[in-house]
Symmetry: C2
Subunit: 203 residues, 2 copies
Amino acid sequence: MKIDPAGLERKIAHDVLVGAVLPRPIAFISTLGEDGVYNLAPYSFFIPVSMNPIIVGVGIGRKRDGSKKDTLVNIEWGKDFVVNLVTEPLAEAMNQTAGEYPKDVDEFQVAGLTPIQADLVKSPRVGESPVNMECRLHQILSFGESTRKNEFVLGEVLRIHVKDEYWVKGEIQSTKLRAIGRMGGDFYCRTGDVFEMKRPVVR
Amino acid sequence: MKIDPAGLERKIAHDVLVGAVLPRPIAFISTLGEDGVYNLAPYSFFIPVSMNPIIVGVGIGRKRDGSKKDTLVNIEWGKDFVVNLVTEPLAEAMNQTAGEYPKDVDEFQVAGLTPIQADLVKSPRVGESPVNMECRLHQILSFGESTRKNEFVLGEVLRIHVKDEYWVKGEIQSTKLRAIGRMGGDFYCRTGDVFEMKRPVVR
Protein backbone atom coordinates (compact mmCIF):
# COMPACT_ATOMS: atom_id res chain seq x y z
CA MET A 1 0.00 0.00 0.00
CA LYS A 2 1.33 3.44 -0.96
CA ILE A 3 -0.11 6.54 0.69
CA ASP A 4 0.63 10.11 -0.39
CA PRO A 5 -0.29 12.34 2.57
CA ALA A 6 -0.60 15.53 0.50
CA GLY A 7 -3.66 14.17 -1.24
CA LEU A 8 -5.45 13.08 1.93
CA GLU A 9 -8.06 14.79 4.08
CA ARG A 10 -6.69 16.16 7.34
CA LYS A 11 -8.33 13.52 9.55
CA ILE A 12 -7.16 10.60 7.41
CA ALA A 13 -3.62 11.96 7.12
CA HIS A 14 -3.53 12.27 10.90
CA ASP A 15 -4.74 8.71 11.40
CA VAL A 16 -2.10 7.33 9.03
CA LEU A 17 0.69 9.27 10.69
CA VAL A 18 -0.21 8.27 14.26
CA GLY A 19 -0.42 4.66 13.11
CA ALA A 20 3.04 4.85 11.56
CA VAL A 21 5.07 6.78 14.17
CA LEU A 22 4.91 4.89 17.44
CA PRO A 23 5.06 4.36 20.37
CA ARG A 24 4.92 8.10 21.14
CA PRO A 25 5.72 9.65 24.53
CA ILE A 26 2.91 11.70 26.04
CA ALA A 27 3.47 15.25 27.21
CA PHE A 28 0.81 16.02 29.79
CA ILE A 29 1.07 19.82 29.61
CA SER A 30 0.03 22.13 32.42
CA THR A 31 -0.22 25.88 31.93
CA LEU A 32 -1.62 29.00 33.59
CA GLY A 33 -4.04 31.24 31.71
CA GLU A 34 -4.19 35.04 31.73
CA ASP A 35 -7.53 34.62 33.55
CA GLY A 36 -5.82 32.69 36.36
CA VAL A 37 -7.34 29.35 35.31
CA TYR A 38 -5.07 26.32 35.01
CA ASN A 39 -5.11 24.17 31.90
CA LEU A 40 -4.02 20.56 31.54
CA ALA A 41 -4.05 18.47 28.36
CA PRO A 42 -2.14 15.57 26.75
CA TYR A 43 -0.10 15.81 23.52
CA SER A 44 1.72 12.94 21.85
CA PHE A 45 3.76 14.81 19.24
CA PHE A 46 6.46 15.38 21.81
CA ILE A 47 10.22 14.80 21.81
CA PRO A 48 13.59 16.29 22.78
CA VAL A 49 14.85 18.43 19.89
CA SER A 50 18.19 19.60 21.29
CA MET A 51 20.65 18.35 23.90
CA ASN A 52 22.49 21.65 24.29
CA PRO A 53 20.66 23.65 25.37
CA ILE A 54 18.11 21.08 26.53
CA ILE A 55 15.02 21.84 24.44
CA VAL A 56 11.87 19.78 24.00
CA GLY A 57 9.29 20.24 21.27
CA VAL A 58 5.56 19.58 21.22
CA GLY A 59 3.14 19.72 18.31
CA ILE A 60 -0.12 21.47 19.13
CA GLY A 61 -2.87 21.12 16.55
CA ARG A 62 -5.76 23.54 16.17
CA LYS A 63 -9.35 22.94 17.29
CA ARG A 64 -11.76 21.65 14.68
CA ASP A 65 -12.79 25.25 13.86
CA GLY A 66 -9.15 26.30 13.32
CA SER A 67 -8.88 28.32 16.54
CA LYS A 68 -5.99 27.90 19.00
CA LYS A 69 -6.20 25.41 21.85
CA ASP A 70 -6.03 26.79 25.39
CA THR A 71 -2.58 25.24 25.89
CA LEU A 72 -1.17 27.31 23.01
CA VAL A 73 -2.99 30.47 24.07
CA ASN A 74 -1.61 30.11 27.60
CA ILE A 75 1.96 29.44 26.43
CA GLU A 76 1.88 32.45 24.11
CA TRP A 77 0.72 34.60 27.02
CA GLY A 78 2.75 33.18 29.92
CA LYS A 79 5.86 32.08 27.98
CA ASP A 80 6.19 28.87 29.96
CA PHE A 81 4.70 25.39 30.53
CA VAL A 82 5.29 22.20 32.49
CA VAL A 83 5.50 18.74 30.91
CA ASN A 84 4.35 15.93 33.19
CA LEU A 85 5.03 12.24 32.50
CA VAL A 86 1.94 10.02 32.14
CA THR A 87 2.07 6.67 33.90
CA GLU A 88 -0.42 3.79 34.22
CA PRO A 89 -2.06 5.12 37.40
CA LEU A 90 -2.56 8.49 35.66
CA ALA A 91 -4.04 7.13 32.42
CA GLU A 92 -7.72 7.58 33.27
CA ALA A 93 -7.22 11.06 34.70
CA MET A 94 -5.21 12.07 31.64
CA ASN A 95 -7.95 10.86 29.33
CA GLN A 96 -10.52 12.94 31.22
CA THR A 97 -8.54 16.07 30.34
CA ALA A 98 -8.51 15.22 26.62
CA GLY A 99 -12.01 16.58 25.95
CA GLU A 100 -12.50 20.01 24.35
CA TYR A 101 -13.56 21.94 27.46
CA PRO A 102 -14.38 25.67 27.51
CA LYS A 103 -11.50 27.98 28.46
CA ASP A 104 -12.82 28.60 32.01
CA VAL A 105 -12.66 24.91 32.93
CA ASP A 106 -9.69 23.84 35.07
CA GLU A 107 -8.80 20.32 33.90
CA PHE A 108 -6.96 19.65 37.18
CA GLN A 109 -10.43 19.71 38.79
CA VAL A 110 -12.02 17.67 35.99
CA ALA A 111 -9.39 14.96 36.48
CA GLY A 112 -9.01 15.20 40.25
CA LEU A 113 -5.31 16.02 40.03
CA THR A 114 -3.24 18.31 42.25
CA PRO A 115 -1.60 21.47 40.91
CA ILE A 116 1.67 22.25 42.69
CA GLN A 117 3.51 25.58 42.39
CA ALA A 118 6.57 25.18 40.16
CA ASP A 119 9.97 26.57 41.19
CA LEU A 120 10.97 28.60 38.13
CA VAL A 121 7.83 29.08 36.00
CA LYS A 122 4.25 30.30 36.51
CA SER A 123 2.66 27.09 35.15
CA PRO A 124 1.83 24.46 37.79
CA ARG A 125 3.20 20.92 38.08
CA VAL A 126 1.00 17.82 38.33
CA GLY A 127 1.66 16.53 41.85
CA GLU A 128 0.73 12.95 41.02
CA SER A 129 3.20 12.63 38.12
CA PRO A 130 6.63 11.14 38.93
CA VAL A 131 8.47 13.40 36.47
CA ASN A 132 7.81 17.09 35.77
CA MET A 133 9.80 19.32 33.44
CA GLU A 134 9.58 23.08 33.94
CA CYS A 135 9.98 24.70 30.52
CA ARG A 136 10.45 28.26 29.30
CA LEU A 137 9.17 29.07 25.82
CA HIS A 138 12.05 29.10 23.34
CA GLN A 139 10.32 29.41 19.96
CA ILE A 140 7.03 28.64 18.18
CA LEU A 141 7.18 27.20 14.67
CA SER A 142 4.05 27.62 12.54
CA PHE A 143 3.10 25.37 9.63
CA GLY A 144 0.23 25.40 7.17
CA GLU A 145 -2.20 28.17 6.33
CA SER A 146 -5.48 29.66 7.57
CA THR A 147 -7.75 27.02 9.15
CA ARG A 148 -5.15 24.29 8.71
CA LYS A 149 -2.40 26.03 10.65
CA ASN A 150 -0.64 24.09 13.37
CA GLU A 151 2.20 24.89 15.74
CA PHE A 152 5.30 23.14 17.09
CA VAL A 153 6.30 24.71 20.39
CA LEU A 154 9.90 24.55 21.58
CA GLY A 155 10.65 24.95 25.28
CA GLU A 156 13.95 25.04 27.16
CA VAL A 157 13.92 22.65 30.10
CA LEU A 158 14.95 24.66 33.17
CA ARG A 159 14.34 22.08 35.87
CA ILE A 160 13.34 18.41 36.02
CA HIS A 161 11.63 17.02 39.11
CA VAL A 162 11.88 13.27 39.69
CA LYS A 163 10.18 11.57 42.61
CA ASP A 164 12.92 10.19 44.85
CA GLU A 165 11.81 6.58 44.51
CA TYR A 166 12.64 6.68 40.78
CA TRP A 167 16.02 8.38 41.21
CA VAL A 168 18.61 5.75 42.08
CA LYS A 169 22.41 6.15 41.89
CA GLY A 170 22.14 9.32 39.83
CA GLU A 171 19.83 7.83 37.20
CA ILE A 172 16.12 7.82 36.42
CA GLN A 173 14.78 4.27 36.69
CA SER A 174 13.02 4.55 33.35
CA THR A 175 11.82 0.97 33.24
CA LYS A 176 10.19 1.28 36.69
CA LEU A 177 8.14 4.38 35.90
CA ARG A 178 5.26 2.47 34.24
CA ALA A 179 5.07 5.20 31.60
CA ILE A 180 2.45 4.73 28.90
CA GLY A 181 2.91 5.51 25.22
CA ARG A 182 0.52 6.53 22.46
CA MET A 183 -0.23 4.18 19.60
CA GLY A 184 -2.60 4.63 16.64
CA GLY A 185 -6.35 5.18 16.98
CA ASP A 186 -7.48 5.30 20.62
CA PHE A 187 -4.79 2.85 21.71
CA TYR A 188 -2.06 3.22 24.31
CA CYS A 189 0.77 0.84 25.25
CA ARG A 190 2.29 -0.03 28.60
CA THR A 191 6.08 -0.14 28.81
CA GLY A 192 6.64 -3.01 31.22
CA ASP A 193 7.91 -5.45 28.59
CA VAL A 194 11.50 -4.31 28.13
CA PHE A 195 14.81 -5.64 26.86
CA GLU A 196 18.35 -4.33 26.76
CA MET A 197 20.74 -4.06 23.81
CA LYS A 198 24.26 -2.66 24.13
CA ARG A 199 25.37 -0.48 21.23
CA PRO A 200 28.20 -2.18 19.32
CA VAL A 201 31.68 -0.76 19.80
CA VAL A 202 33.41 -0.15 16.45
CA ARG A 203 37.24 -0.38 16.24
CA MET B 1 15.09 15.21 43.30
CA LYS B 2 15.53 18.44 41.32
CA ILE B 3 17.78 18.49 38.28
CA ASP B 4 18.81 21.64 36.39
CA PRO B 5 20.00 20.47 32.95
CA ALA B 6 21.97 23.65 32.19
CA GLY B 7 24.46 22.80 34.92
CA LEU B 8 25.02 19.22 33.83
CA GLU B 9 27.66 17.63 31.64
CA ARG B 10 26.41 16.70 28.18
CA LYS B 11 26.38 12.94 28.80
CA ILE B 12 24.52 13.24 32.11
CA ALA B 13 21.96 15.70 30.70
CA HIS B 14 21.34 13.27 27.84
CA ASP B 15 20.85 10.35 30.23
CA VAL B 16 18.35 12.29 32.34
CA LEU B 17 16.37 13.41 29.31
CA VAL B 18 16.10 9.97 27.72
CA GLY B 19 15.01 8.58 31.08
CA ALA B 20 12.27 11.21 31.38
CA VAL B 21 10.80 11.33 27.85
CA LEU B 22 9.55 7.88 26.95
CA PRO B 23 8.66 5.59 25.28
CA ARG B 24 10.20 7.17 22.16
CA PRO B 25 9.51 6.04 18.59
CA ILE B 26 12.59 5.02 16.62
CA ALA B 27 13.34 6.49 13.23
CA PHE B 28 15.57 4.03 11.38
CA ILE B 29 16.94 6.47 8.80
CA SER B 30 18.30 5.42 5.43
CA THR B 31 20.17 7.84 3.19
CA LEU B 32 22.40 7.92 0.13
CA GLY B 33 25.82 9.53 0.29
CA GLU B 34 27.52 11.66 -2.35
CA ASP B 35 30.02 8.75 -2.70
CA GLY B 36 27.17 6.38 -3.60
CA VAL B 37 27.33 4.54 -0.26
CA TYR B 38 24.10 3.93 1.64
CA ASN B 39 23.82 4.85 5.31
CA LEU B 40 21.41 3.45 7.88
CA ALA B 41 21.16 4.45 11.55
CA PRO B 42 18.55 4.67 14.35
CA TYR B 43 17.43 7.91 16.03
CA SER B 44 14.92 8.17 18.86
CA PHE B 45 14.34 11.93 18.99
CA PHE B 46 11.70 11.58 16.31
CA ILE B 47 8.10 12.79 16.03
CA PRO B 48 5.54 14.37 13.69
CA VAL B 49 5.84 18.16 13.96
CA SER B 50 3.08 19.24 11.55
CA MET B 51 -0.10 17.71 10.17
CA ASN B 52 -0.45 20.13 7.25
CA PRO B 53 1.79 19.77 5.46
CA ILE B 54 2.81 16.40 6.93
CA ILE B 55 6.26 17.03 8.39
CA VAL B 56 8.30 14.84 10.73
CA GLY B 57 11.29 15.96 12.77
CA VAL B 58 14.36 14.07 13.94
CA GLY B 59 17.09 15.18 16.30
CA ILE B 60 20.59 14.28 15.10
CA GLY B 61 23.38 14.75 17.62
CA ARG B 62 27.03 15.21 16.72
CA LYS B 63 29.77 12.58 17.04
CA ARG B 64 31.87 12.68 20.17
CA ASP B 65 34.42 14.91 18.41
CA GLY B 66 31.72 17.40 17.37
CA SER B 67 31.70 16.45 13.69
CA LYS B 68 28.51 15.67 11.75
CA LYS B 69 27.15 12.15 11.58
CA ASP B 70 26.91 10.54 8.15
CA THR B 71 23.10 10.73 8.24
CA LEU B 72 23.22 14.52 8.52
CA VAL B 73 25.97 14.86 5.91
CA ASN B 74 23.93 12.77 3.47
CA ILE B 75 20.69 14.66 4.11
CA GLU B 76 22.44 18.01 3.60
CA TRP B 77 23.82 16.73 0.31
CA GLY B 78 20.89 14.72 -1.08
CA LYS B 79 18.03 16.73 0.47
CA ASP B 80 16.04 13.60 1.29
CA PHE B 81 15.82 10.58 3.62
CA VAL B 82 13.63 7.58 4.38
CA VAL B 83 12.29 6.77 7.85
CA ASN B 84 11.75 3.07 8.47
CA LEU B 85 9.74 1.68 11.38
CA VAL B 86 11.65 -0.64 13.75
CA THR B 87 9.83 -3.77 14.86
CA GLU B 88 10.79 -6.69 17.12
CA PRO B 89 12.21 -8.83 14.29
CA LEU B 90 14.37 -5.86 13.22
CA ALA B 91 15.72 -4.99 16.68
CA GLU B 92 19.03 -6.86 16.45
CA ALA B 93 19.77 -5.62 12.94
CA MET B 94 18.96 -2.06 13.97
CA ASN B 95 21.33 -2.29 16.92
CA GLN B 96 24.12 -3.46 14.61
CA THR B 97 23.81 -0.20 12.67
CA ALA B 98 24.12 1.92 15.82
CA GLY B 99 27.92 1.74 15.96
CA GLU B 100 30.09 4.63 14.77
CA TYR B 101 31.26 3.16 11.47
CA PRO B 102 33.51 4.94 8.96
CA LYS B 103 31.73 6.81 6.16
CA ASP B 104 32.52 4.15 3.55
CA VAL B 105 30.67 1.43 5.47
CA ASP B 106 27.18 0.53 4.19
CA GLU B 107 25.16 -0.32 7.29
CA PHE B 108 22.65 -2.26 5.16
CA GLN B 109 25.47 -4.78 4.65
CA VAL B 110 26.55 -4.66 8.30
CA ALA B 111 23.00 -5.50 9.37
CA GLY B 112 22.06 -7.82 6.53
CA LEU B 113 19.14 -5.67 5.44
CA THR B 114 17.84 -5.04 1.93
CA PRO B 115 17.92 -1.58 0.32
CA ILE B 116 14.99 -1.02 -2.04
CA GLN B 117 14.78 1.87 -4.49
CA ALA B 118 12.31 4.47 -3.24
CA ASP B 119 9.68 5.98 -5.55
CA LEU B 120 10.19 9.71 -5.03
CA VAL B 121 13.57 10.18 -3.34
CA LYS B 122 17.16 9.05 -3.86
CA SER B 123 17.50 7.48 -0.41
CA PRO B 124 16.67 3.76 -0.24
CA ARG B 125 13.94 2.06 1.80
CA VAL B 126 14.56 -0.83 4.20
CA GLY B 127 12.80 -3.76 2.55
CA GLU B 128 12.30 -5.67 5.80
CA SER B 129 10.51 -2.80 7.58
CA PRO B 130 6.67 -2.82 7.42
CA VAL B 131 6.42 0.99 7.20
CA ASN B 132 8.67 3.37 5.22
CA MET B 133 8.24 7.11 4.90
CA GLU B 134 9.89 8.86 1.97
CA CYS B 135 10.83 12.36 3.12
CA ARG B 136 12.12 15.47 1.37
CA LEU B 137 14.23 17.85 3.45
CA HIS B 138 12.13 20.80 4.63
CA GLN B 139 14.42 22.63 7.05
CA ILE B 140 17.35 22.07 9.42
CA LEU B 141 17.27 23.76 12.83
CA SER B 142 20.63 24.19 14.57
CA PHE B 143 21.06 24.51 18.33
CA GLY B 144 24.10 25.09 20.52
CA GLU B 145 27.57 26.25 19.62
CA SER B 146 30.90 24.89 18.32
CA THR B 147 31.54 21.31 19.49
CA ARG B 148 28.16 21.11 21.24
CA LYS B 149 26.07 21.90 18.18
CA ASN B 150 23.20 19.61 17.33
CA GLU B 151 20.57 19.59 14.63
CA PHE B 152 16.83 18.91 14.35
CA VAL B 153 15.97 17.93 10.79
CA LEU B 154 12.47 18.50 9.40
CA GLY B 155 11.29 16.44 6.45
CA GLU B 156 8.06 16.55 4.48
CA VAL B 157 6.54 13.08 4.12
CA LEU B 158 5.92 12.53 0.42
CA ARG B 159 4.89 8.89 0.47
CA ILE B 160 4.23 6.24 3.11
CA HIS B 161 4.62 2.55 2.27
CA VAL B 162 2.73 0.08 4.45
CA LYS B 163 3.02 -3.66 3.93
CA ASP B 164 -0.40 -4.90 2.85
CA GLU B 165 -0.85 -7.24 5.81
CA TYR B 166 -0.87 -4.22 8.17
CA TRP B 167 -3.25 -2.13 6.07
CA VAL B 168 -6.82 -3.19 6.86
CA LYS B 169 -9.99 -1.24 6.00
CA GLY B 170 -8.06 1.92 5.25
CA GLU B 171 -6.14 1.93 8.52
CA ILE B 172 -2.70 0.94 9.74
CA GLN B 173 -3.03 -1.87 12.30
CA SER B 174 -0.73 -0.10 14.73
CA THR B 175 -1.11 -2.60 17.54
CA LYS B 176 -0.16 -5.50 15.23
CA LEU B 177 3.09 -4.00 13.98
CA ARG B 178 5.18 -5.12 16.99
CA ALA B 179 6.96 -1.78 16.94
CA ILE B 180 9.59 -1.25 19.60
CA GLY B 181 10.17 1.97 21.52
CA ARG B 182 13.22 3.51 23.14
CA MET B 183 13.46 3.82 26.92
CA GLY B 184 16.29 5.19 29.07
CA GLY B 185 19.80 3.72 29.13
CA ASP B 186 20.20 0.77 26.75
CA PHE B 187 16.58 -0.31 27.21
CA TYR B 188 13.82 -0.79 24.66
CA CYS B 189 10.15 -1.66 25.16
CA ARG B 190 7.82 -3.89 23.19
CA THR B 191 4.35 -2.51 22.42
CA GLY B 192 2.24 -5.65 22.66
CA ASP B 193 0.57 -4.71 25.95
CA VAL B 194 -2.08 -2.23 24.82
CA PHE B 195 -5.35 -0.75 26.03
CA GLU B 196 -7.96 1.55 24.53
CA MET B 197 -9.43 4.75 25.93
CA LYS B 198 -12.04 6.79 24.07
CA ARG B 199 -11.61 10.54 24.34
CA PRO B 200 -14.48 12.07 26.34
CA VAL B 201 -17.07 14.01 24.35
CA VAL B 202 -17.75 17.42 25.89
CA ARG B 203 -21.25 18.97 25.43
